[in-house]
Symmetry: C2
Subunit: 250 residues, 2 copies
């Protein structure tokens, strides 16, 4: 991304994290004016850290905030009364999380840190205030939300209408593309700290069956997932299986 360096204090409480991944993502679609970047950084009040496995909630001193994920992986999920779990989304660095909970205040899904996680906290009132003078910022946030929605749509299609093997293929292709866009690995080889049962709960499968599907894919020699490493050996065949087209990821 062209523009950056440690922008000299736009507002008094700017955190000055070098190269905000979020700003980078927004850049892809809408060319930010320098002052928009400053605003976006200014919104990040303070850094918070969550340990692996902990819930990311809006408790403590900041009942009203969203987060930008700066490092680590997170996910949102819903617990069902019968004890099962549906994972809604996985989040990787640069993702904006918690906006829905925040503005709708009717969230029944939970946020959870999959690994140790660092986030930048954003205060709602600041965000709304910033919206008012800055249609471009509003547009960027809207755009980011719509992109999340596009991923959600693909996720729904996955769970609703793809065979388990195609579903798994699609999942790992999407993840690879997302990570590659961030420079965290390549489309075909990347680290993935998610457990099999977590992914299974995202894909509407049991952990047992997900494991069997992984074995199929391994035996077909198209991909492996072992000890936190994903290796897509035959991307073309995978993409044919999954009917995958990365354009929705930009």
């Amino acid at each position: 991304m062209p523009h950056d360096s440690s922008q000299p204090g736009a507002k008094s409480r700017t955190l000055h994290l070098p190269a905000s991944p979020m700003a980078g993502k927004l850049d892809v679609h809408i060319a930010f004016l320098p002052e928009d970047k400053a605003i976006l950084d200014a919104l990040q009040i303070r850094k918070r850290v969550f340990i692996k496995g902990s819930d990311i909630t809006h408790e403590g001193q900041s009942p009203q905030s969203a987060y930008i994920l700066r490092a680590g992986w997170a996910c949102s999920y819903k617990l069902m009364r019968n004890g099962t779990r549906q994972v809604i989304s996985f989040y990787v660095p640069g993702d904006l999380i918690g906006i829905r909970r925040l503005l709708l205040s009717s969230a029944d899904d939970n946020l959870c840190a999959v690994t140790r996680v660092e986030v930048g906290e954003i205060n709602v009132e600041d965000l709304i205030e910033a919206f008012d003078g800055n249609g471009r910022l509003a547009m960027s946030i809207l755009w980011s939300t719509l992109k999340d929605e596009a991923i959600l749509v693909q996720h729904l299609v996955d769970v609703g209408r793809r065979r388990p093997i195609d579903r798994v293929a699609h999942f790992f292709l999407e993840l690879g593309s997302r990570l590659a866009l961030l420079g965290l690995g390549t489309r075909c080889t990347y680290q993935c700290p998610l457990t099999q049962s977590l992914i299974a709960d995202a894909l509407g499968l049991t952990a047992v069956h997900f494991n069997r599907v992984l074995r199929q894919l391994r035996e077909l020699k198209v991909m492996t997932f072992h000890e936190g490493w994903v290796r897509l050996l035959d991307c073309q065949r995978l993409e044919r299986l999954a009917d995958f087209d990365s354009s929705y990821l930009q």
Copy 2:
């Protein structure tokens, strides 16, 4: 910008449809200033009508527009290569549709008129322009988008982790709540023009099995769906089945 103006209006291109359902929905969350309402109405350039079964696309004179559904039902869906179909969302009057396609320009899902449909067309560039001076409008659109996302999340949970019978129960409860909010029927009795196979394609079931589930529900005397009428006979039991909580619909 070719603005159609078969309509006289306060501002040159204001449509002045009495009581825009969309404005009504937005009202629920954010108190509009009078001028915001005017802006929202001004955005609706012209009315378009689509016949039952036709695709709602961005062709012809307006490659760049979203729609507000004013009358009738619509849906978005994705066709799979193997010939199956996943319905993503059903839309009822008041819903804002086509925003994702518009801003992301990478949509691989289609919009379709389930019944005869009347829409108000919104030009993107006008929308973006309106955003700039008006954070409140931007906030409203964002909020509307997030509410759609919340419905999508519930849909995902439905398909991923509920038994077919609970899934169907949840679907009809949600639909009833949405329609009741609009004054189109009550939560427990309403008209529904969707076909069984369309709903089945939304819920990740085959039409055959969906029909069997309907029979189960009928035999349990909790609900019926016949000749376009939905009757929820035992709402409490249905809500227990589906683990339904309408708070995400507002």
